[in-house]
Amino acid sequence: MTAIANISPITAAIWVVLLPLLAFLIQAILGKRAKSGNIALIAIILSTLLSGVFVFAEIWKGIPRSVTYPWFTIGISTFTVGVLLNNLTVLMQLLVCIIALPVHIYSRAYMKGDPGIHRYWMYLSLFCFAMLGLSISKNLFMMYIFWELVGFASYLLIGFWFTKESAVQANKKAFIVNRIGDLGFLIGIAILFSVYGTLDLVELFGKEGRFLQTLVDQPGLITAAGLCFFLGAMAKSAQFPLHVWLPDAMEGPTAVSSLIHAATMVAAGVFLLSAVFPLFNAQVLLVIALIGVITAASAAFFALTQTDIKKILAFSTISQLGFMMVAIGIGAWDAAMFHLVTHAFFKCLLFLGAGAVIHEMAHLKDSHNLQIDPQNIQQMGGLKAYMPKTFILMAIASLSLAGFPLTSGFLSKDAILISTYEWAIHHGGGYLLIPIVMTIVSILTAFYIGRLIFKVFFGKFRTAVPQVSIHEAGNSMLLPMAFLAICSLFFIFSWNPISYHHAGVFQGFHVAYSFHEIHSLHIIIPIGLSLAACIAWFIGWKWYVKQQYPLQADSTLMRFSYNQGYINTFYQLTVVEGSLRLAKAAYWFDKTIIDGLVNGLGRFTRMLSQVSAWIDTYLVDGLINSLAGAAYYLGHLLRWVQNGRLQNYLGFAFTVLLIGIIYLIFT
């Protein structure tokens, strides 16, 4: 027992990563025999325990530890793999475990009876492996590997129902868009490697790190590196304009969406930026902040009119990720991480709740043979009566999302907003636009999540069925949700429900802000926001529950919002069509021009052979005309040579001889 108790955090952290991998391998080998998911579940439970007890408890607020192993050597540079445990990484690892665990439990019930369930568990374990590995990578190259693997697992899970056309479209889109980000990441790695010669995070950014020690003569290159990493983060964290894959990714099973596309994977971008934060200079940070705010605003705007419950949540996720990006952009990456953690819980919960609802709706659809989309909120309504527990849990999550006091979302969102105001005031001028927009976004957030809750749970059930056979989900689904609901409340993070400064997560990081704290903001903003949220809900209540909808449902703005700003259409028309056209053009070019050239060369050679045969046959032609006055004889010759007439042969030979003589005379 002591041996187990003395297990070093490094070993434990490695096991945390390896357990899901083992589970993946075992399930892969077992194939269809591993339907229950027990293996995956056991692996994640063990991982969570290890991560919590032996890693997080040891390292959090303690001394960072790391270990490095050589992997391979190219030329004179050795590439390493390693585990880095510091506050950031252990927090991330634990978070992934803690979110993944309830999702696993939830999935047991949610995915029950699916014919491909063995694949599901396999993929889920693979995802956990990749995500956990990502969180504790010491080396950027290694991180990149896990980064892509995460994307791959996500691809598999989005396309889990591979017979569904939209699902396979979506997973392709997700992977390719993520690939764009990966390229950024890769180029970023290439830049760092070519400037500093190492990819080790500690060697780069540690206290003695080369980043601080080396004088770089090309500051532009470092800016480029920063932008490249941000590009990577943009794709993974679905930042405008690369956010398009995330709403589509909702084609995957809802449990997957909750784990991957709400809580963990999409947050990896934020995590990456936090890990390489020292790299960013002021310009890059400003870009990050701007992209963040654009994302937050546009996604919130799109969320307003969506009718698919999961899409609303997806846009909400994008919007919240935008918040985190802004936090990073202003330098408050601790706030970003804090929001990442709190968001993970409540967003996961929202998805699981939505999943429960969809589950019931799908049952309803199947049992009545309805032609409805089980995810369409227009078809729902009044579910409060049938699924009260789900309603309560989702309400908590929604409050947290809206940043209502006493929830965790309140703390983290305030942290970001207040810091942003402080930052903007510090810089003054146009910078103020950013926090103002974010304030509006916060209010919109409250509004659209309110709309979701009202439409789903209030009013009357809107699908015409003889008997509404919807009921509460089972315990194996409710319990994980309840757990997440508890985690969405303030006390998990801070005993002080008002001030984020006391939050434990917050205290784990020591970030030096470039701006001063403004105390008055800490009071005004929370109160103002809460009030605004209440007003937004009131309006929402009137519009959606009391059916006093004042707007033209078909206005341009609405349509613009519903169609997600036509960004997808735009991409389809430009990028996709463009590259396909380019591809076709390239192929046409290849087939007709290049190959044609070769074949043409062949034809040319054949022609040449004909020509030379022709020369052979009629050579005397042009030459002779110009030669002497023997027009008759020569004209005769050129018609007759080499078609078997002996004298033409002789004539030809002697004519060439004559040409030779003439050549001699003239030289």
């Binding site: 045969a613 052979d616 046959t617 004889y633 007759w640 080499q642 078609n643 078997g644 007439r645 002996l646 004298q647 002789l650 004539g651 002697f654």
Partner: protein, 101 residues
């Protein structure tokens, strides 16, 4: 005094006649005749030049050999033309064109 130039001019004329016969005559025998003419032009040259080669008499010797060889060649040529005539019933080379490209 007949100089070397005279010989050369005569031989050149014979040569040209021979060449003409080879190329222009529509009769295989005439071609043979043309060939003979050229050979004779050459022989004339040899003999003429041989006058200056008192040591070896190379020209004369060459002329003799050339005459012999020309005769042999003409004999063979005539035999072949005869064979052609048997098959083709003509000795106009323009009509004997089974072999062609």
């Amino acid at each position: 005094m007949i100089s070397i130039t005279h010989f050369l001019v005569v031989s050149a004329i014979i040569f040209s006649i021979g060449l003409y016969a080879i190329i222009a005559k529509r009769n295989a025998i005439m071609i043979l005749v043309g060939i003979e003419l050229i050979i004779n032009a050459a022989i004339l040259n040899f003999v003429a030049f041989g006058r200056y080669d008192k040591l070896n008499y190379g020209g004369q010797v060459f002329a003799l050999f050339a005459i012999v060889l020309a005769a042999a060649a003409v004999a063979v040529g005539l035999a072949i033309i005869l064979a052609v005539y048997r098959k083709y019933k003509t000795i106009n080379p323009d009509n004997i064109t089974d072999l062609q490209d």
